[in-house]
């Protein structure tokens, strides 16, 4: 028997994906309706889908979605600047690497979510501490990717440029940055998906009722409203999928030229 199989065509994959989602929902629906699996709080797919549809028609909920998105973008922006600059410098210079490597190793395992409440105490309520929490979580993948990207720049290209009397600034702009950008963007792409999850979690844990997380928090207080919890979580998840699709498309569009060149 052959264990490894040929991959499917793209069209078949998409079709099967749709069948899989609908089929799984249907199976779960039938299992719950026929009382084969029982218990309070199980998500009935039709009810959750109904709720989610209702949420998407609700202007208040869209306000919360936009709040979460703004918070996420602010955090991602901060993380991108810090990660690219610090990571890039760490990759380009041994001294900077030595200066910051231990600090990075110490701070990285700290769960951003646990630091968040402290930020609320130190800064204030509102969006900034949550955006900073998102930024903390997002910084690491960007920083590491930027660091490796800056390290991996072809030394021959740099030496060639030097021989041709290109100024250090010119080398940075014309060789180092273009060579490192695609990999840096991969870091931002990874961070974007993480950031959205962290944003919703931060709202949920210390947000005070704003954003999608705040909505979920308010909905969880009443046990009868569990479908709303599932629906809002589902919406947040779908948003995450859309974000990663969007960033993947941007990656292909902006850095498609890199594919053949990658080491």
């Amino acid at each position: 028997m052959q264990l490894i199989h040929e991959p499917l065509s793209r069209r078949n994959e998409v079709a099967l994906g749709i069948v899989g989602v609908l089929g799984s929902a249907l199976v779960l629906e039938v299992l719950i309706r026929l009382d084969i699996i029982t218990g309070s709080g199980l998500p009935l797919p039709s009810a959750v889908a109904d709720q989610a549809w209702g949420l998407l028609g609700d202007n208040d909920f869209w306000t919360q979605i936009f709040y979460t998105l703004r918070e996420w973008m602010l955090g991602l922006l901060i993380a991108s600047v810090v990660g690219v600059v610090l990571g890039g410098l760490m990759g380009a210079s041994r001294t900077v690497f030595k200066l910051f490597s231990l600090t990075v190793e110490i701070l990285r395992p700290l769960p951003a979510i646990a630091v968040g409440p402290l930020l609320v105490l130190l800064i204030s309520d509102g969006m900034l501490p949550m955006a900073l929490t998102v930024a903390i979580a997002c910084t690491w993948p960007i920083l590491f990717n930027s660091m490796y990207a800056a390290q991996a720049v072809d030394p021959v290209a740099i030496q060639t440029a030097r021989t041709l009397h290109v100024s250090p600034l010119g080398i940075l702009a014309q060789i180092r940055l273009p060579a490192a950008l695609p990999f840096m963007f991969t870091g931002i792409r990874v961070a974007a998906s993480i950031g959205l999850i962290v944003a919703v979690s931060a709202e949920l844990l210390f947000g005070g009722g704003v954003g999608i997380g705040g909505y979920i928090l308010l909905a969880s207080t009443s046990a009868s409203n569990l479908d709303a919890v599932y629906a809002a979580t589902l919406v947040a998840g779908v948003m995450g999928v859309l974000v990663s699709i969007l960033f993947a498309a941007a990656d292909r569009l902006l850095f498609g030229w890199k594919v053949g060149l990658a080491q």
Binding site: I4, L16, G20, L99, I106, P109, A114
Partner: protein, 288 residues
């Protein structure tokens, strides 16, 4: 380890000029990394002395004191663990370990099955992507409702939170093995058991390990989050409890312990990865 020893003997055996240079570089490589942490601790101390926010920032020395007194003990009978370590750290880590291993078994097992069957993988691919993007902490209330109180909802929440990167990477790794190796296996009529354990698993191992690493740091986060509500012990519980009682040295202590646990786990992970994937470096590393 042996590489470092070899390196050192190589350095010692080289000429004096090199030795002087390496002594200087040794100083710089030992001192330079300490500058930024020292500055951060200084900043931390200055923050703790400030009038407005100092209330929330415990002085570094107090935190160190508290960490030692809470988490360490001189008694060998307690395995040198302090009271707080025994009551909160150990249960936390136990649940995290359980959740992590559950996720590992399910993620790798399911990932291999899905990875080997393109039709199944295509069927469940959107759901895996969705699961990966779900904000798991949102489901904490639901998990308590579904699985009662106690340890199980927490363990399952951790497992649910961290299974996705393992699952996703395992599928990706198995699918990335490629048809060339599959054809070779078919031509030589290699039995499927050998194909699984000698081609599929080793071939997917680098990707699986990448997923496991993400899952490991994620499991620490999920551990803390799972204990923020309806918990009787654990580091997450301690965070909430200390904050409610305005015990900020305690709060900072928990942060320090979390960082230490994270670092230790990371070091262990790197060691395991180095052993298991030793063959990978040099053989295939450049092509990934």
């Amino acid at each position: 380890m042996s590489a470092i020893v070899q390196n050192k003997t190589a350095v010692a055996g080289s000429r004096t000029r090199t030795r002087a240079w390496s002594a200087r570089s040794l100083v710089s490589s030992l001192l330079l990394p300490l500058i930024v942490p020292a500055l951060l601790v200084l900043l931390w101390w200055m923050g703790s002395q400030s009038e407005v926010k100092g209330l929330f920032i415990a002085p570094p020395l107090d935190v160190l004191d508290r960490t030692v007194s809470d988490f360490l003990s001189p008694h060998p009978g307690d395995f040198f663990l302090g009271e707080v370590a025994r009551n909160d750290l150990v249960p936390s880590l136990w649940r995290a370990t359980l959740g992590f291993w559950l996720a590992l078994v399910v993620g790798v097992g399911l990932g291999i099955v899905l990875g080997l069957r393109p039709v199944l993988a295509a069927l469940f691919q959107p759901l895996v992507h969705l699961g990966r993007s779900l904000p798991t902490p949102a489901l904490i209330g639901v998990f308590f409702l579904l699985f009662g109180t106690g340890d199980w909802p927490k363990v399952l929440l951790i497992a649910f939170g961290v299974v996705w990167p393992i699952l996703f990477n395992t599928i990706d790794g198995v699918q990335g093995i490629g048809m060339a190796r599959a054809h070779v296996a078919a031509v030589f009529k290699i039995p499927s058991r050998d194909v699984l354990f000698r081609i599929v698993l080793p071939g997917a191992a680098p990707k699986i390990f990448a997923g496991i690493r993400v899952a490991l740091s994620l499991s620490l986060i999920m551990m803390v989050i799972s204990e923020l509500q309806k918990a009787k012990n654990g580091l997450g519980y301690l965070l909430v409890y200390d904050q409610r009682n305005f015990d900020y040295p305690g709060f900072w202590t928990v942060l320090v312990v979390l960082a230490v646990v994270g670092i230790v786990l990371n070091v262990i992970m790197i060691q395991i990865e180095r052993r298991v994937l030793a063959w990978h470096r040099g053989v295939t590393a450049q092509h990934d």
